[in-house]
């Protein structure tokens, strides 16, 4: 059996999306900026996709800009705002659990003299509005807080943070890459000034993203060259990708509730069986359904290391991901797990399961069965487990 439980890394492109994209490779292949019919037809498709994205976010089409993905959108938001508003202030507030696209960009901005405050979340992975409020200063120009975290799925109070920012006249950006299609996002209701999303996380193609910029918000352009996207983002339109993004977001947002219900039912079953059947493990983050992405589960298995778990699961056909440094080639374990207070040695033994549309109960049960075997085998090898077993016997 093959079981894909890494949907936060990426998803399979929906067949219906591919179908819509195909004509734009070799039939309607014109450059969307060209004057001739080949180009005009491509431009129509781009504009249609823009309307689709705008609808899904409750934005206006002229607030939607296509990019190459979540990373570019995040870069553009931070660098574009700092550049355009640098005279007003040089202070940015973000969180310690953002994606590297935000964290590393902030580190770069710090080298350029920008001051950045990294707020830490509570144990459940949530950054409170109060913390944001306390961190605000006269010279704060931007707050960037992700809608939902990719590793532990924690959903941030973005609507409240957005309202606070609006009140203080500070711009609010949210990285909604993990949220789109899984929870409802509405730029008006949630008081969002800038938002990043990425099509491949909701069954769209890879390499296409969007930045929403509320009308009236000044952002310096990031990609420099031609006059595409009203001079905001240069580069020939990726017509098939953009068409795919538009179709994917329409499909993904058509039934968020049903989708979320399917995922959370399976996820809760997975969590329940793991906790009941595997000793010495614990769930990272909150299990409050309203505060966690419906398909996300993050578990620490004591005394063993994440990469070995992943590899053994992979041999059984199961794909997950880990918070261990060993699987990513870096030396530090997941910055998100460390941020919510998971000690390094336990962060090394953490596995993230992210469920998707095509998963079913049979796959989840198979996963738990294989997981039990895996954990048992690795604990038999571990010098840490024996000690605990020994201690247990001694008491």
């Amino acid at each position: 059996m093959r079981v894909y439980l890494d949907h936060s890394a990426t998803t399979a492109t929906d067949k219906r999306v591919i179908e819509k994209m195909l004509p734009y490779f070799s039939e309607i292949y014109g450059n969307a900026s060209s004057q001739h019919t080949f180009g005009v037809d491509a431009a129509k498709a781009v504009e249609n996709a823009r309307i689709q994205v705008a609808k899904a976010l409750n934005a206006s089409p002229n607030e939607i800009y296509f990019t190459s993905g979540g990373t570019e959108s995040d870069n553009m938001a931070l660098r574009g705002v700092v550049d355009a508003h640098g005279k007003k202030g040089r202070h940015v507030i973000t969180t310690s659990i953002e994606h590297h696209a935000i964290i590393e960009t902030c580190k770069m901005l710090e080298k350029q003299g920008v001051e950045v405050t990294y707020l830490t979340p509570d144990k459940s992975g949530i950054v409170s509005v109060e913390k944001v409020k306390e961190a605000m200063r006269e010279d704060t120009i931007l707050v960037s807080v992700m809608t939902a975290n990719s590793e532990i799925g924690s959903i941030q109070p973005i609507k409240e943070i957005g309202a606070l920012c609006r009140e203080r006249k500070i711009l609010f950006h949210t990285d909604a890459v993990q949220a789109i299609g899984n929870i409802s996002v509405d730029v008006k209701r949630d008081n969002i000034d800038l938002l990043s999303l990425s099509a491949h996380k909701f069954y769209g193609p890879k390499g296409v993203g969007v930045i929403y910029i509320r009308n009236g918000v000044k952002v310096s352009r990031f990609m420099i060259g031609g006059e595409q996207e009203r001079k905001m983002r240069a580069g020939t339109y990726n017509t098939p990708g953009i068409v795919g993004a538009g179709e994917a977001i329409t499909l993904a947002c058509a039934d968020i509730e049903g989708h979320a219900k399917h995922l959370s039912t399976l996820r809760n079953h997975l969590a329940k069986r793991i906790v009941e059947e595997i000793p010495f493990c614990s769930i990272n983050g909150t299990m409050d359904n309203d505060k966690r992405l419906p398909g996300n589960l993050n578990v620490t298995f004591d005394f063993i290391e994440g990469e070995s778990i992943l590899l053994m699961l992979d041999m059984a056909g199961i794909a997950a991901s880990s918070g261990s440094a060993c699987s990513s080639g870096s030396l530090e374990p997941s910055h998100v797990l460390l941020s919510i207070g998971v000690p390094a040695e336990r962060a090394h033994g953490s596995i993230r399961f992210t469920l998707g549309r095509d998963n079913d109960l049979e796959q989840i049960d198979y996963t738990v069965d294989k997981l039990k075997e895996t954990v048992e085998r690795l604990r038999a090898i571990s010098p840490l487990f024996k000690t605990v077993e020994g201690e247990k016997k001694n008491v």
Binding site: F303, I304, E305, E307, S308, L311, M312, M315, S324, A325, C326, S327, G329, L331, P333, P343, A344, E345, H348, A380, I381, S382, P383, L384, K386
Partner: protein
């Protein structure tokens, strides 16, 4: 990422588990870095007649431990001390660059066990 030899050693590691009445033990690494390796030795007349290991760590760490124990069984203590991490890598037909430290850990665990043994004897 890993070659077949490493995967095989990870899947079916040799000499796994604690050893009762070991003549020597050596533990290196620490949990917060993500690897701990413990090697047990049975020694007769300065020859390693049996070796076992317990490892907390990634696939490369487990494969390195398994291979290292196989390499030292039958060797004299002096011969075992000469084993370098590069010898472990060679036996495994290569490790990814970011996993080289796992083979270093195996070399250090052997040295630690032998040093402990000699210190105890002296």
């Amino acid at each position: 990422m890993y070659n077949d030899k490493v995967l095989e050693a990870f899947k079916n590691p040799k000499n796994v588990g604690a050893m009762e009445n070991a003549d020597a033990e050596g533990t290196v690494g620490n949990a917060s870095c993500g690897d701990i390796m413990k090697i047990y030795l049975k020694i007769e007349n300065d020859v390693i007649i049996d070796a076992k290991f317990e490892t907390f760590g990634c696939a490369a760490a487990i494969a390195s431990s398994s291979t290292a124990t196989e390499m030292i069984i039958g060797k004299t203590l002096d011969e075992a001390l000469k084993i370098k991490n590069s010898d472990v890598i060679e036996k495994l037909e290569g490790l990814p660059p970011q996993k080289i430290h796992c083979s270093v850990l195996a070399e250090e665990a052997i040295k630690e066990a032998i040093q402990n043994y000699r210190a105890k004897k002296a």
